[in-house]
Symmetry: C2
Subunit: 198 residues, 2 copies
Amino acid sequence: MARPRTFDEGRALDAAMHAFWANGYEATSTQDLCEATGLGRSSIYNTFSSKHDLFKRSLARYIELMTVPQIELLEDPELPPLERIRVLLARIVETEFEHRPDGRSIGCLTVNTVVELAGRDPEADAMLVRDQEVRLAALRAAIAAGQLAGGIATRRAPEELARFVNAVVGGMRVAAKGGADRAAVEAVAATALDALTP
Amino acid sequence: MARPRTFDEGRALDAAMHAFWANGYEATSTQDLCEATGLGRSSIYNTFSSKHDLFKRSLARYIELMTVPQIELLEDPELPPLERIRVLLARIVETEFEHRPDGRSIGCLTVNTVVELAGRDPEADAMLVRDQEVRLAALRAAIAAGQLAGGIATRRAPEELARFVNAVVGGMRVAAKGGADRAAVEAVAATALDALTP
DNA sequence: CTCATTATGTACCAATCAATCCAAAACTAA
DNA sequence: TTAGTTTTGGATTGATTGGTACATAATGAG
């Protein structure tokens, strides 16, 4: 029927996502995207209609890749709620320091995008707000369950504790990107759990 | 001797700092800087030798404006150490929400720059690392004093608690920039203090 | 007044930006 | 083979980027 593609769209999207992840939206040029994906300009504009569109799809993919497993973990009935949060924080430490022999973290595309584009890009904004609502809801539910079962401190409402855990995650990612070593980030996670412990 | 300047260098630097603060380094063009400062191109390049140089001076000014009062507060002998940290967090909430009737925070230039430039701009990197070391040292000292005097929990070392407080501050700023309202950010601060309370 | 010196505004520079155009290429259905 | 459709690469677009050149303006020292 027509000339077939010589590349895999999913792989190309992954490569673009990593480029945006490492360097941000503004600092990633369309030329960078060509080199990262291995595609020519025409193929990129034919497949993804603009740089901004490609960024939206990259962000959507990142959110899917990161948030879905986190929600599953927070709803895991096999683990006590406090343990779910402990594992969540441990996983974040893990992802921040995996495959980075120079010790410098690449950070988190969600946090990076909040800082770079929140308030200036309505579409990215909406995606980030929705993602955060989903994550906060899962945290609230796990915390409420933990308070009921007795493993999590009841001195504050689930809403407050969920906001706290969410902010600590962001703080850990900023610290890692700022050059903090693994022990330092693990100390943040461990101390945060103190606030949840009865 | 020579033609005098028709503008105040300090005011111009403040205006440039606010432009970088609101939009980041890459997204702020030299044209934006001209409009923000009210100066012509020649005056800007004559006074500050390049966009990057102007950014470094803006960042230095921001760090001075933010960190110096925070250090003074953390060393205030009039207040019990835990109270110093409580006031520190309260001030951060205050600065994030002052003069922002739309509720959208502009964030923190230090955090924004860590996320945007850490690992890619060695000079900005060095300034940020030094600033963070100063802030961590002040936090450690206040926490150690609090543990000795009895107002701060001793279940973790001052180094760990300082890292924790520092990360929470970053997390609060990301949350505010992401659209969280004042009550949500205050909940983060209050919960963080739980981890420091015996 | 005259002159050396600095500030300022305008025009301009090459480089890069995101995006488009178009012709050649590669495939399939008929 | 042929017609129809989409992909691909390369050239090119106009706008914008950070930065410069240069002529003119404004000052105080002599």
